[in-house]
């Protein structure tokens, strides 16, 4: 599935879509049969459980009558019948993990991605309806050229390729703007995908208490957030950023900083300035920037090239 993504160069969208849909169908069939298999295993286990219970009850009755036969003078003792050990079916074979755990894993994504009711595009696109969405095709978000290319080549997000992308974003989309090393633990990925899935399959089920109300990393006064940056000054200050950060917005060991929403940029820089974010170079660069200078940079970078 992943290897195919690399090889997609033809522009025959319908053919590619067919391939993607066939894949999806195969996958659903597989999942369906795996569920059926589990259901039948579960029924087997239930049957075995009642068998065992019956056997146990019979054994207890036998033991009781044997005891009474042996101790004739003793009246029948009150014996508490021990409860049978519960038998639990193994449920770990599902493709999707635990959405509740996924919500916790997703916390590290929320500085860039929103999901749920009222979710908007921030540094990354919102993730409502991500399953089945064509890569790089969400209206109004500025994707990397590579992501757009993958979408044009037919990449449509589903379980397997989202799993691959989360494991190593750059392995799937080499010059993606998503600055994330990847989730190495398969369980984390299947949990997070179960969580994301909740906001895709049936959008009407999006919980009312939307998880979009994230507290800011740093507490900034409305005055600081309201500063309108001087883009000329921002352009000069930005020349220092461009020594390291790619001007075309790609990410090569150093994250992209173009086309960020102004507020996110301002919050990030203040977080470095206050040493809440850890990177030493960024802490140093931010430490000497005034509120106005941070606003100027944010204004400059928000306008794009």
């Amino acid at each position: 599935m992943l290897g195919a993504a690399y090889g997609w160069t033809a522009r025959d969208h319908r053919a590619q879509e067919l391939v993607a849909l066939t894949d999806r169908l195969t996958q659903l069939e597989k999942r369906n049969s795996s569920l059926q298999e589990q259901a039948s295993r579960s029924a087997d286990l239930h049957a075995r459980l009642s068998e065992l219970e019956t056997a146990l009850a019979a054994a207890l009755r036998d033991a009781e009558s044997a005891r009474q036969a042996a101790l004739v003078e003793t009246p029948a003792a009150e014996m508490a019948r021990p409860a049978p050990e519960p038998v639990v079916a193994d449920a770990a074979a599902l493709d999707f993990g635990d959405p509740e755990k996924g919500r916790e894993v997703f916390a590290q994504c929320t500085s860039c991605h929103q999901i749920g009711q009222g979710a908007e595009d921030r540094i990354g696109p919102h993730l409502n309806g991500i399953f089945g969405r064509r890569a790089g095709a969400h209206e109004g978000f500025r994707y990397s050229d590579d992501m757009k290319m993958m979408g044009a080549d037919g990449l449509t997000w589903e379980l397997a390729n989202l799993d691959a992308y989360l494991e190593n974003p750059k392995a799937l989309v080499s010059r993606t703007r998503m600055n994330f090393a990847g989730l190495k633990d398969p369980q984390d990925r299947s949990d997070i995908l179960a969580y994301l899935r909740q906001f895709s399959a049936s959008p009407q089920n999006i919980p009312e208490a939307a998880p979009t109300a994230q507290p800011r990393e740093v507490d900034l006064s409305p005055e600081v957030l309201a500063i309108v940056g001087d883009t000329d000054y921002g352009e000069y200050l930005a020349s220092e950023c461009k020594t390291c950060h790619q001007q075309d917005g790609s990410d090569k060991g150093i994250p992209a900083i173009t086309n960020w929403p102004t507020e996110d940029f301002v919050v990030a820089m203040h977080a470095y300035k206050r040493q809440i974010r850890p990177h030493p170079v960024m802490q140093m660069m931010a430490s000497r920037l005034s509120d106005e200078e941070i606003a100027a940079l944010a204004a400059y970078f928000a306008q794009g090239e």
């Binding site: 000054y233 000069y236 020594t243 001007q247 060991g253 170079v281 140093m284 000497r288």
Partner: protein, 422 residues
């Protein structure tokens, strides 16, 4: 009107210049001319920023002898076998085609500061209103007795990018089994403070794989060096037993070489070597001296605009300068170029001039995925460019952080070379 505006809007330096020299370039001979000598991290960046931001209001000429520029920064990665030579090579094509810069492949041999022209080795001269010199380094004659530039084939310095880097790598690869590599390290100040020690790491890396019984000796005139704790920790960890450093306490400053015999005499002890990497004491690129802009070995500049303290129409960038606290590095030169470009545009076209800010970070690779860094932010005062905050990698960092630091350095290389060459 335009002239008055420039006089009042420009920097103090520009305003002062109007008293002594005619400032009416635009009026006297049309579009103002900026000539940049040297197409490295300082010069290429300055040329590109002036051309880009003046959008045709300034005529920019870049004089650089080489057609393919090989960066000196990251050349150690080639020596260590991590990069190909092609990764270090850049052309000036985009500066000409996309930015309209007049790229002249020639040597600048002198400056007539009264006539405001730059003489070319190929004949002729180029007039300027503002001149930017970014010539990098040259070597101090006689700093390592027995060595001069005619010996650089036998004992390469590999401290300017390109053929010297390739030569040193070839010599290291051809060392006999169990052979000896000697580095004669330079005294302060010199280009790229961690550079010699990153090179030691890279030589050790390549020898460990190909010639593990080889020995590496450093004769060093300095008691201490950049990122010393980090390098020494790394050498112990990765290259235990391969590297010996002879500091000044053991005569490391008292070195003579014999290129014909391939020997190095360190305080009376003669070492037979297979490769001798002599990094001599350094000074500003010769053009600075030829133009009469040096004081001692370096060219003094005012950190507010990188203008020469000896000529108000000439800005000097990078390794060649004596500016204060910034190290001589490609990052520093690039940072200084942006300040100078802004000052030059302000003086010639009246564009806005903001207070100078500088920064530098030097990444070094010790072994595979074991990267470290040191850096600082700077601001000018009337005396010098002064460090205002700094950081350095710590010993004992985990492997993930070191790997991220190395990856970050690759990102920086992409960033700065795009910033230089477009």
């Amino acid at each position: 009107m335009k002239l008055n505006r420039r006089a009042f809007v420009g920097t103090g330096m520009a305003a002062a210049s109007t008293l002594g020299a005619p400032m009416v370039h635009a009026a006297s001979h049309g579009i103002p001319k900026v000539v940049v000598v040297g197409g490295g991290a300082g010069g290429a960046t300055a040329a590109r920023y002036i051309a880009k931001d003046s959008a045709g209001e300034i005529d920019v000429t870049l004089i650089e002898p080489t057609r393919s520029y090989y960066t000196c920064f990251f050349s150690n990665l080639y020596i260590g076998g991590f990069w190909d030579l092609e990764n270090l090579s850049h052309s000036y094509g985009k500066l000409a085609s996309d930015y309209g810069i007049n790229v002249v492949h020639d040597w600048a041999t002198g400056v007539d500061r009264d006539a405001k022209t730059v003489a070319l080795a190929g004949g002729g001269s180029v007039p300027y209103d503002r001149l930017i010199l970014s010539p990098g380094i040259d070597f101090v004659d006689g700093s390592v007795p027995g060595w001069d530039v005619s010996a650089q084939n036998a004992m390469p310095h590999a401290y300017k990018g390109g053929s010297q880097t390739e030569l040193l790598k070839a010599q290291i690869m051809a060392m006999p089994e169990g052979g000896t590599y000697v580095m004669v390290a330079p005294p302060n100040p010199y280009r790229c403070p961690p550079g010699p020690y990153e090179r030691i790491s890279m030589v050790a890396h390549v020898l460990k794989a190909n010639n593990p019984t080889a020995k590496i000796i450093i004769a060093d005139p300095k008691a201490n060096f950049s990122k010393q704790g980090l390098f020494e920790e790394g050498w112990q960890k990765h290259y235990s037993g391969m590297i010996t450093r002879i500091g000044p306490d053991f005569g490391g400053e008292n070195v003579t070489v014999d290129p014909a015999a391939m020997t190095v005499d360190v305080d009376g002890e003669v070492i037979n070597a297979d490769v001798v990497n002599v990094i001599p004491a350094q000074k500003a690129g010769l053009i600075c001296e030829a133009a009469g802009l040096t004081d001692g070995n370096w060219a003094p500049v005012d950190g507010h605009s990188m203008v020469s303290r000896l000529d108000e129409n000439i800005h000097i960038l990078g390794d060649a300068t004596n500016q204060g606290d910034m190290p001589k590095s490609g990052f520093s030169a690039n940072s200084q170029a942006k300040v100078a470009a802004m000052a030059v545009r302000g003086a010639l076209t009246g564009s806005r001039v903001f207070p100078a800010k500088y920064s530098n970070t030097c990444w070094s690779l010790i072994a595979t995925d074991d990267g470290v860094k040191v850096g600082a932010a700077y601001e000018p005062n009337d005396e010098k460019i002064a460090s205002v905050s700094s950081f350095v990698s710590q010993t004992g960092e985990d492997v993930a952080m070191r790997k991220a630091t190395y990856e970050e350095s690759i990102g920086w290389y992409e960033g700065i070379t795009t910033d230089m060459f477009g």
